[in-house]
């Protein structure tokens, strides 16, 4: 570590012979700290922050197996084993929340996943640069709007008296519907809002993949007299397929993650039957009703399932990108 020549020498010596005495190792460590203490100092705040705000709550997760009381605290509350989990799995609302989470995610996948791909393919066909630029600028915008505002817009637009949706239905002689109190309307509205908000922004990744397709492929297709439609199907889409598959795997890995902030803002008791997901269930039971231990158990269940899914997805994505590269 002290000089370049020594480094080079130590690399050439076989590992077995490189073993140094304890003393020289201590010496090396002292030199290392003297030379590089600054990087450890820079790392320290971040590590402490992660311990205090992310790892300490993981220690607190043990309340899922305890009869937690605020006064006793995490460590001193008595253990109750799997009691909360038994209660969870015989709780209809929890079962419903798990099922709703999966159903909403599945709808998001079915409709929300293809939307940015189609959008990117269409953007790629637009020749007029200013038109393309302007359209892109506009469709990216809703991504940056907070869920409270999104909810405010949805509530206003779907309101039975003022809402534009009912106004339009009125033109066709259809009686006004109070959409946000109807369980059967919650998921379509929620998934549709998600597409409106994220499809444009999501297309960026696919546009970048399209930009990476070799122009020579298109040139030879032109020579062969291929139409733009054929090029889109035969060249662009197959070329970005690896990106599509990776994004799909990641999406499936995140199936337990539903944007519950927006659900909290949009749902109401009348629509719980279709709208309540695990995280909103945890929020109500824990933060609103104060059943911390029970809610933490529900949260832990969600986190473990999500972790397993993400790990599987990461492994698949890595394996896939390795095979697709060669």
């Amino acid at each position: 570590m002290t000089s370049g020549s020594e480094n080079k020498r130590s690399q050439n010596i076989p590992v077995a012979k490189r073993k140094r005495s304890l003393k020289s190792r201590l010496q090396w460590f002292a030199d290392h700290v003297r030379n590089h203490w600054q990087i450890y100092l820079m790392l320290l705040p971040t590590i402490v922050w992660f311990m205090v705000f992310l790892y300490k709550p993981m220690y607190g997760l043990q309340i899922a197996f305890k009869d937690y009381s605020i006064f006793r605290g995490v460590a001193n509350s008595p253990w109750v084993g799997w009691e909360h989990f038994q209660a969870l799995f015989s709780n209809d609302q929890f079962i419903r929340a798990v099922s709703n989470t999966i159903k909403i995610s599945a709808l998001n996948l079915l409709f929300g996943f293809p939307a940015p791909i189609i959008l990117a393919l269409m953007f790629n066909e637009i020749l007029h640069a200013t038109y393309k630029r302007t359209a892109q600028t506009i469709v990216y915008l809703p991504h940056f709007i907070s869920s409270v505002i999104i909810a405010g817009i949805v509530i206003t637009a779907f309101s039975p008296s003022v809402g534009i949706v009912n106004t339009i239905l009125g033109w066709f002689g259809i009686d006004s519907i109070y959409f946000l109190t109807k369980p059967e309307w919650f998921r379509p509205i929620f998934v549709g809002t998600g597409i409106w908000q994220e499809a444009g922004f999501g297309s960026i990744v696919f546009l970048a993949a399209i930009a990476g397709v070799s122009p020579s492929l298109y040139e030879s297709a032109v020579v062969d007299g291929a139409s733009r439609w054929q090029m889109m199907w035969r060249i662009t889409l197959p070329s970005i397929l690896p990106t599509i598959i990776i994004m799909l795997i990641i999406r499936i890995g995140n199936i337990m993650e539903v944007s519950f902030e927006l659900i909290i803002l949009l749902y109401q008791p009348a629509t719980y039957s279709t709208a309540d997901v695990v995280n909103t269930f945890v929020f109500r039971q824990g933060l609103q009703n104060g059943q911390y231990d029970f809610a933490a158990a529900a949260g832990l269940f969600n986190a473990v399932v999500a972790f397993v899914l993400v790990m599987i997805a990461n492994t698949l994505a890595r394996r896939y990108s390795r095979t697709s590269l060669w």
Binding site: I39, P57, L141, S147, V162, I204, N302
Partner: protein, 292 residues
């Protein structure tokens, strides 16, 4: 591609696609126009469902109702405090942290990287996080909000990847001149990483400006809540409060026009900075192709 080389079929296809994109763009923009129109309409016209594109019986009464409320301005100020304070706090953690993690000399580098990446895959969840905040005495604390959401694994890894891609020779040249790690970071890495740092700053600003859930859960005092929480309170009370709707039926403003006016007020700053930030986020989202 050249328009003149297009066959008739290609031209037809391109025109259809342009129209479809145009429709999607209008559909994206329309809700904003509609909300703006509602906010400038009279309460009576809005209640009757007359507003479609343009304000009906144009008035600024809804804005008057909002802009005289002291709580509105306090929450607006608070949002600026959270956004600026939070972003500065984030950068103070993330930049040095990402630099350290990018150094090959760092002992335990693999461990520390895993230590940070793990939090992207496993999260203790709402309840333990909340109880931890209470144990730390950070409930109803503005500083608590600024500190507790300062760092996330994604941003650190994003910047670390960028730092790792900087050629070794830059650092070596600075070392020759006797620079230490702080100087290397400050004089070499930060200037070379402006696009990545701008991207992360942007992510932080947007997250802070829009952040509402934890502010709603953790903050109790009216004096401390950000604009998004104020907006939610107003939405909830206005829509629940039938009396408000009834007494204002004939009036110049209604629950809906007031809601729309608050929405407009809170979108305006986003629209003002949006063109400026746009050039960064396209790059940024691609940098974010996170490898752990």
């Amino acid at each position: 591609m050249n328009w003149n080389l297009y066959s008739r079929g290609d031209k037809f296809f391109a025109i259809v696609v342009s129209i479809l994109i145009g429709m999607f763009t209008v559909a994206t923009l329309y809700p904003f126009i509609y909300i703006a129109a509602v906010s400038f309409s009279s309460g009576f016209a809005a209640q009757a469902g007359k507003v479609v594109m343009t304000p009906i019986d144009a008035t600024v009464e809804a804005y008057k109702y909002i802009l005289v409320q002291r709580d509105f301005w306090i929450s607006y100020r608070n949002t600026f405090i959270y956004t600026i304070g939070g972003t500065v706090m984030s950068l103070l953690f993330i930049i040095p942290g990402a630099y350290a993690l990018s150094r090959p000399q760092l002992i335990g580098r693999r461990f520390f990287n895993l230590f940070i990446a793990f939090t992207m895959w496993f999260n203790a969840g709402l309840i333990p996080f909340y109880l931890n905040m209470r144990d730390l005495n950070l409930l109803d604390s503005m500083f608590g909000i600024i500190l507790a959401f300062a760092v996330n694994a994604f941003n650190i890894i994003l910047l670390r990847n960028f730092f790792e891609a900087i050629p070794q020779s830059f650092e070596e040249a600075a070392r020759m001149d006797g620079a230490n790690d702080f100087q290397v970071l400050w004089k070499v890495f930060i200037p070379l990483s402006k696009p990545a740092i701008a991207t992360i700053t942007l992510f932080c600003i947007v997250a802070r400006w829009n952040g509402f859930f934890w502010a709603m859960v953790l903050l109790q005092s009216q004096e401390k809540i950000p604009l998004q929480v104020f907006l939610r309170h107003t939405l909830a009370t206005l829509s629940d409060d039938d009396e408000f709707a009834i007494t204002q039926l004939e009036a110049a403003y209604s629950a809906e026009t007031v809601t729309a006016a608050i929405i407009v007020c809170s979108i305006i700053p986003v629209l003002l900075v949006y063109p400026w930030i746009q050039k960064y986020f396209e790059k940024g989202i691609l940098l974010g192709g996170v490898k752990e």
